[in-house]
């Protein structure tokens, strides 16, 4: 695969900053009360990230290694200030909705993480695409979480009514506790897919997602799966013998 395209895919999926790396949790929780806020925050962060990545990559040979952190801070903070001024001038509503979380992009660990780990060691072109990939990955994650919270908390997505009129919005989801709950479920799901389970292959009982604790499991199906699974290793052995 083309190495520039690879950078984009890497940021969007393989190392998605929110879903996989779990970086930048503060803005993720704070501004995702609606899908539109997610877009605003995601794109602002993406612009700062792309600009900082390009500048640092271009200057990487001139920045002394021992004092690189102050350089990075100044570059990132300048980019954030520029973005903030642009938002104030052209989209004041977004600036109003996001408030202090715009200047707080400075301390977003995604930016420092990418600048330190990637842009400081790679060429300008690659760093540009790395910034775009990571920025878009962050934007998509924020929009997804924002849409979900807006759907349950207000019954709308991007202010379009999606739920029927009879739907009583669960206001908690657009309040602070909802943010924590959504993220909790998201990380739990992530663990669920990462851990081997009784239904996907010949995992050892102790490595199963349910802990192999079938005595306390009320689901008989799972117990049955588990029992079938325990026999599997032998089957696998038999198959190998035939080969």
């Amino acid at each position: 695969m083309n190495k520039y395209l690879e950078r984009l895919v890497n940021g969007l999926f393989k190392e998605n900053p929110t879903f996989v790396l779990m970086l930048g949790m503060c803005p993720t929780l704070a501004v995702t009360t609606s899908a539109i806020n997610g877009v605003g925050m995601g794109l602002s962060t993406a612009v700062v990230l792309v600009a900082s990545n390009v500048i640092i990559a271009a200057l990487r040979k001139f920045i002394p290694n021992t004092v690189r952190m102050p350089y990075f801070i100044v570059v990132v903070a300048s980019m954030v200030t520029i973005v903030q001024l642009l938002l104030q001038a052209y989209v004041p509503s977004v600036n109003e909705a996001l408030g202090i979380y715009i200047p707080l992009i400075v301390v977003n660990c995604i930016i420092f993480g990418r600048v330190e780990a990637y842009a400081a060691k790679n060429k300008v072109g690659l760093s540009l695409f790395d910034g775009i990939g990571m920025g878009l990955g962050f934007t998509i994650a924020l929009v997804l979480i924002g849409s979900f919270r807006e759907l349950l908390g207000a019954g709308t997505i991007f202010n379009f009514r999606v739920m029927p009129e009879s739907f009583e919005p669960i206001a908690m989801f657009i309040k602070p506790p909802g943010a924590f709950l959504v993220l909790a479920m998201l990380t739990a799901l992530q663990n669920k897919f990462k851990l081997p389970s009784a239904t996907n292959g010949s995992a050892k009982a102790s490595a199963l997602a349910c802990g192999g604790d079938c005595a306390s499991c009320s689901g008989e199906t799972y117990a049955a799966n588990h029992a079938a699974n325990l026999e599997k290793p032998n089957k696998d052995k038999d198959l190998r013998k035939e080969d």
Binding site: M22, M25, C26, P27, L29, A30, M69, P70, I73, V74, A77, S78, V80, T81, Q84, L85, G99, I100, P103, L104, V106, V107, N108, C109, F112, M172, K175, P176, P177, G178, A179, F180, L181, L183, A184, M185, T187, A188, L189, N191, K192, L195, L208, A209, C210, G211, S216
Partner: protein, 195 residues
Amino acid sequence: MNDYLVNLLLILISAAFINNVILSQFLGICPFLGISNKIKSAVGMGLAVIFVITTASILCSLVFQYILSPMELEYLQTIVFIIVIAALVQFVEMVVKKFSPTLYDALGVYLPLITTNCAVLGVALLNVENGFDLVESIVNGFASALGFTISIILMAGIRERMAYNNIPKTFKGFPITLVTATLMAMAFYGFAGLV
């Protein structure tokens, strides 16, 4: 004078409980999730944060009122504040290391982590946004940090007990901590409308 004191008290309660930095403003989530395993380290982190946020509030407030504001350079606040905070943390670390090794042992490891803690910059920016004067900024900074300390210690206490519970494997670690945070945020939401 009396009105002013009442105002300060309201800022204190509002910053520590109603607008709790972690549970309602989502500032400083990383240390809240990362260093809340044990009560002892949570207390250390909390004390370090109280010290740094209060000092940073004083410095940033002074810089804004006497340097940036008269020279009409308000738009530089983000850059200036982050530099002030980074320098402050470095300086505090060096001073504490030199003069009080015991304190350094207790706080040392947490100090570098605080530079990237968005609560410090967030509180400094909120002070400016709300138009607080120097004393109000100090009170707001101290109270916000107090709110941070209260929540991180509460969380550490709960997590220490949770270590003995039988938690589904998928929920171990981050997820169950976040569910706990959800319940804490709901409880703190009860303070809304107090002031």
